[in-house]
């Protein structure tokens, strides 16, 4: 008896959002999408009940924008559990341990859907519990409920219950958008978070209520030009540096624009395989193997892996550490991790394994000549580790992604064959199509994955407007592009009801 039979009773009963019967008009789809988005923004602004708001801590730091999580709100977990569950599923699927045929077997499709949800629930506990109880990320405050004061432990459980409900809600909000709306909910939440930061980075001003009087790009430049922000002589090194990477943020602006341009260009880079219909003469088509289509979403998995490693380090140091040094079994282990201390609790790794494994988020993290925090050798080692991790990780997860989402040569050949198409000049045979696709898909996937990894690290090193990370920017641009394509297709179908039959 395989695991399928054992797990089936549980997996098929996982609650799901009802599917619409028949066609949902495009306007109705937009309304669902907008409604869920508003709900998401509302929930990111509801602060957790029982949280000590005074002490601020940013556990995942810059990563939280990619995870679409609102710090200290009931959306604290964001899509984190979904991403982590996806990593597990990708790894299992990539190693072919699942044994699920999601392409042809409806039974397996149902099991896959159930397994996804079950894993997300497990991950809500696995990431939520340490966040509340171990790392000191969500400190409880004293709560007086109907004249009865709760202990710190009880309040922590209350906090955990709230973020768990938030995690489950975001899963079903994604399902609503996938079934009743346009695009995918997760994609939408990511672009919502990143765009918010991007707009903040450009226009933030105390007039608009920016916290701590931060200034965005344009207000800063206004101040520089009117002389309110002193900049050294521009023709000397100090002033120039201030303009390029300091207050002026010129490099950050250029990087942001560059990423936009590169992604939009790379979206159009593809190998096209000509197809013709076996029966209908003249019905021709092309199958595009896109360069980065499959590789941007897997990037989030690589980043999540890095963030989880850092999360582990933080928990270790806050549970066992003395003076910011991780210690196990009473022994101080500076080679594992040394952390800087801010406000009495460990903040960022400054040495040891966890320092080298921490991704680079901003120019300040590595420009040793300008911000002398570390010596050059350490910084270069860290850059090397980050680059290797992202490039190799990007390629590996892209391959797994293509395999588990049925975009690999075998699955694609099957789809092409089923639609009655063939490659002109070849026999009409699944195996033949697969052979041809095998020449392109694996190579393109690996190159795409590595390229996206490289871009993400480069963007982080040069800095981006509003501190959106390179990965966030890459994700946002490519998700938006895909959303645009999907909306265009929807509108085409609205205008010509005949098209609906063609696309199904």
């Amino acid at each position: 008896m395989s695991w399928k039979d054992t797990a089936e009773p549980v997996l098929v009963r996982m609650p799901a959002v009802r599917r619409p019967e028949g066609h949902v008009p495009f306007k109705r789809k937009l309304a669902w999408t907008a409604g869920v988005l508003v709900l998401y923004f509302f929930l990111t602004n509801v602060m957790l009940f029982g949280l000590d708001i005074g002490s601020d801590s940013a556990p995942l730091g810059r990563f939280s924008s990619i995870l679409a999580s609102g710090q200290g709100s009931i959306m604290q977990l964001g899509i984190g559990p979904i991403v982590t569950a996806s990593i597990v599923l990708q790894l299992l699927g990539g190693a072919d341990l699942l044994g699920l045929d999601t392409q042809n077997n409806p039974r397996d499709q149902i099991l896959y859907q159930g397994l996804q949800k079950l894993l997300v629930l497990v991950m809500i506990f696995l990431t939520g519990l340490p966040m509340v109880f171990a790392g000191g990320f969500l400190p409880p405050t004293s709560v007086n409920l109907f004249g009865m004061s709760l202990s710190a432990g009880a309040t922590s459980w209350l906090i955990f219950a709230q973020i768990a409900v938030g995690g489950v809600l975001i899963l079903y909000m994604d399902e609503i958008i996938s079934k009743w709306g346009v695009g995918s909910g997760i994609g939408l939440f990511i672009i919502a978070g990143v765009s918010q930061q991007l707009i903040g980075g450009l226009f933030a001003h105390p007039i608009f209520g920016s916290p701590q009087g931060e200034l965005g790009f344009f207000p800063t430049w206004f101040q520089i030009i009117t002389g309110n922000i002193p900049i050294g002589p521009v023709l000397q090194a100090d002033g120039l540096q201030e303009l390029l990477i300091g207050e002026g943020q010129i490099i950050a602006l250029l990087t942001t624009i560059l990423i936009f341009v590169v992604v939009v260009y790379a979206e159009s880079v593809r190998v096209e395989i000509p197809l013709s219909n076996a029966r209908v003469k003249g019905a021709r088509g092309r199958f595009p193997v896109k360069l980065i289509y499959a590789s941007v979403l897997p990037m989030i998995l690589v980043r999540a892996l890095q963030a989880n490693i850092q999360f582990l380090g933080r928990i270790l140091v806050s549970q066992t550490g003395q003076n910011g040094v991780i210690s196990l079994f009473g022994m101080e282990l500076p080679w594992l991790g040394v952390y800087s201390i801010s406000q009495g609790s460990p903040a960022n790794p400054t040495g040891g394994l966890f320092y080298y494994l921490s991704p680079i988020y901003a120019p300040q993290d590595w420009m040793w000549w300008a911000y002398s925090t570390q010596d050059a050798l350490n910084v270069l080692l860290r850059v090397g580790v980050d680059l290797t991790f992202m490039v190799i990780g990007g390629a590996i997860f892209a391959i797994f992604w293509v395999e588990t989402t049925d975009m690999g040569p075998e699955a694609t050949a099957q789809q092409i064959h089923n639609s009655g198409m063939q490659i002109p000049g070849f026999r009409q045979n699944v195996g033949v199509v697969e052979k041809v696709l095998e020449r392109y898909i694996p190579q393109v996937t690996v190159i795409g994955g590595a390229l996206v990894g490289l871009l993400a690290v480069m963007a982080n090193m040069l800095g981006t407007v509003g501190g959106v990370s390179g990965t966030g920017l890459l994700l946002t641009v490519s998700i938006t592009y895909k959303l645009y394509e999907e909306i265009a297709e929807e509108q085409l179908m609205e205008m010509h009801p005949m098209m609906r039959q063609m696309f199904g």
Binding site: L39, S86, L171, T405, M407, T412, G504
Partner: protein, 57 residues
Amino acid sequence: MSSSDSGGLMSSAGLVRYFDAEDSNTIRMDPRSVVAFGVLFGVLILMLNALFMLGAV
């Protein structure tokens, strides 16, 4: 065969994948009730904050 198998060439949704297949045992929820639950939950927490956190801060 329906054309839906060929319509989605090289299309993958987000991180979570949904298929057309559904089991009769699956517990089905109306999207409206999910959204309504989300709104009520948010309002509940807001009210708890307003009622009980004033003394604490």
